[in-house]
């Protein structure tokens, strides 16, 4: 189907299924139970899952295939968001032109930075991309404030022109982002007994884009172009000796992954029309590296898993406070309750960075192939050793 072989089609269908039914899958606990804290099926977080999934898929096309470790990819995401918000300010609140522009601008930006940075490889390439991204961040935060609105972030105001749309709605507020009239924030809530599920317009737009982006990435992975990129990773010198110029291939990969980042940025701005400079900081670039490695670099599904994992931590774990902890363990005797809360407290709420750091180290140490490898190992225990080895070598071709 769609020019994919059977295994890839299955993978695509799994991803499509997961994203479409995410509102159910992510809300497994009844709303009024104590475990509802762990529900992640609300629009904002679901949107973030898929948007960062797209970002990580794009990053993986560069890093997973060519092995070039960019430490400045967040800059493209930031540029994408800024272009999208400017579109909302100047043209109209329709997300389509905004997303298209953000992909184009991010692509151009990536072309320039990639052209320069790809003259070096290894850690020199990483430092070059890092330097470009940090420069963009610093300038966006200060000197470029007329374009970026600096620290506050670029926002919509009531007197933006919006030549094709309306400046303000009849009741005096800023119009909302939409796709030909479909409001991105529109949410349909479905109550089923004690469960509540939210179906959000914006999320489904992002989900469709994710599926398309995922499909495109499968096609790239399986194409002769993808093969060429893998050749760059395994031995660029040998490739050059055979008379092939690898530069156009790596540059193309860089630009494509930059456009993915721009797409993610454009979608992010479409869901929530604000673009902040912190999106371009090196820690944000580091985050997408973490996502990709955590999930499994070079695998198709890994980056999406990694993105979901980190965003889940950031949004769910950071919200558990001591109050919530005490309510969970209130069934225990007082002394024991306090003791357990005392033990767990440093790792949740304001300590979520610590837990993330520890988990991240554990994954890098014990699961170099990321969560995908973890899944395969667990699968291996069930299916028997031999079978799993065979499978691993097949689904992990980029390694």
């Amino acid at each position: 189907m769609f020019g994919l072989d059977k295994r890839d089609t299955t993978l695509l269908l799994i991803v499509a299924g997961l994203t479409i039914f995410a509102p159910f899958i992510l809300n497994p606990f009844p709303t009024d139970s104590g475990l509802a804290q762990f529900n992640a099926g609300y629009p904002d977080l679901m949107q973030r899952f898929v948007i960062f999934g797209i970002f990580a898929i794009g990053f993986n096309i560069l890093f997973g295939l060519t092995g070039y470790l960019s430490f400045g990819h967040a800059a493209f995401l930031g540029v994408g968001s800024y272009s999208a918000v400017w579109m909302f300010k100047l043209l109209s609140m329709n997300v389509l032109p905004a997303i298209i522009l953000s992909v184009i601008i991010a692509g151009l930006f990536a072309l320039v930075i990639g052209y320069v940075s790809l003259r070096r490889s290894g850690i020199y390439f990483s430092i070059l991309t890092l330097a470009f991204a940090q420069m963009s961040f610093s300038l966006a935060y200060s000197v470029l404030t007329p374009i970026t609105n600096g620290e506050t972030g670029l926002q919509l105001t009531l007197d933006d022109p919006r030549v094709l749309g309306q400046t303000a709605t009849a009741d005096g507020s800023i119009p909302v982002t939409n796709l030909f009239g479909l409001e991105m924030r529109g949410t349909y809530e479905m109550a089923m007994g004690p469960w509540a599920f939210q179906f959000n317009m914006g999320y489904y737009l992002c989900a469709l884009v994710l599926i398309a982006a995922f499909y495109l990435s499968i096609r790239i992975f399986r194409s002769p172009f993808g093969m060429m990129l893998r050749a760059v990773k395994s031995n660029q010198q040998r490739m050059n000796y055979t008379g092939l110029n690898s530069k156009p291939y790596t540059l193309a990969a860089f630009v494509i992954s930059g456009m993915y980042a721009g797409l993610a940025g454009g979608l992010m701005a479409s869901m929530d029309p604000l673009a902040g400079a912190e999106r371009m900081q090196w820690t944000a670039s580091g985050e997408v590296v973490l996502m990709t490695i955590l999930g499994g670099a070079g695998t198709l599904i890994g980056p999406v898993l990694g993105a979901g994992f980190i965003k889940y931590f950031e949004n769910i774990f950071s919200k558990i406070n001591s109050n919530v902890l005490h309510s969970w363990f209130s069934f225990l005797p007082d002394g024991l309750e306090d003791f357990i809360v005392f033990i767990i407290y440093p790792f949740i709420g304001k300590g979520w960075h610590l837990t993330l750091g520890i988990l991240f180290m554990l994954v890098v140490i014990y699961l170099p192939g990321g969560l995908v490898e973890g899944g395969q190992r667990i699968g291996g225990w069930f299916k028997g050793r031999k079978k799993s080895d065979a499978r691993q070598s097949e689904t992990n071709p980029a390694e």
Binding site: T152, S173, R185, Q198, M201, L274
Partner: protein, 448 residues
Amino acid sequence: MSKTDLSRRGLLRTGAVTSAGLALPTIFTAQSASAFTNDPTGGTVTLGFNVPQTGPYADEGADELRAYQLAVEHLNGEGDGGMLNTFSSKALEGSGILGKKVEYVTGDTQTKSDAARASAKSMIEKDGAIMITGGSSSGVAIAVQGLCQEAGVIFMAGLTHSNDTTGKDKKANGFRHFFNAYMSGAALAPVLKNLYGDDRKAYHLTADYTWGWTQEESIKAATEALGWETVNTVKTPLAATDFSSYIAPVLNSGADVLVLNHYGGNMVNSLTNAVQFGLREKEVNGRNFEIVVPLYSRLMAKGAGANVKGIHGSTNWHWSLQDEGSKAFVRSFGTKYGFPPSQAAHTCYVQTLLYADAVQRAGSFNPCAVAEALEDFEFDGMGNGKTLYRGADHQCFKDVLVVRGKENPTSEFDLLEVVEVTPREQVEYAADHPMFAGGNLGSCNPGA
């Protein structure tokens, strides 16, 4: 693979979505039957406390959170009631808000606009928070305020000092109790004149982002009105940690006052560096060189250690104030946590009480009704004297404190002493003052 493939498919898909949307226009638009976002239906009401828990302002965020927990206790009738006993409005009875028990959720702003909006959204969308409050920087406050306007909930700003929060970025659903850069300038200027004379030469170092700029603009205007000359204004990068290369030029600039428009870690480092370079002992034009820090915070003063001694600045509130409201708040906070509250804690506590009181008086959680109850509301007994929540820009007007780093602190909390309480009339300004121009409140949005 070919890329045209994608765009064709994308186009088809878009078309499909559009037609589906046109066919089912009503399902996706209405959130629920109620008239406003997150109408609390059960016996409880949820407030969202969005404070920095990671990053450089985490300690300030922790103090804000303590104040919120205290406020919730007092609203629910637990503890000693704190400022509820001194608050001029007597609508709150310690039985929750409109009879509903107050519950809360917390989030981490990370002092980043994006992260702050994400956690605010999660509190609104997932936890059903009816009001969002907190924050420790203006960038975050403005970003979250914009979000709350779109989502249709009330935003009660925490620590935010930029003129823009209730100036060019003001929003109908957002309210600020904290003072602002203009007020700092207006309060400080007369004190500086009395202390240092009216013919000083000032050199400004300014953090290079929006708050820094409004702070510089305000204090510059206020001191120039006294007759001071501004020798130079230099922007410093936010990420700077070592300010030596910005301090060194001050030495030979002919200036005799250094104004540090910095906050947080920037302020700690620039002040430490300035003192290192001997500026405090320096004499220029036969007069003592002076350093001024327009926005002071006790938590930050602690980081600068002995360097703050004798240095003037302004602050929203200080625990050593002796009015009944402040005393009641310090007593309940100190009894519960063992140390006095910071100005951030005070503003957050007061904001929570003010919100609850407004709901109670309005008789509804509807943001528009609450906003109406808050607008032009005049109250007393909250630690800053008679205070007005001005309807035109949702800014509180109240007395502003001018403080000085204490020479002989008796404890680790006793770092600042109040030099003067600048009365409210002196820091008031017209709603259309040029430093606050360009914004538009818009109309209140109840969401849904």
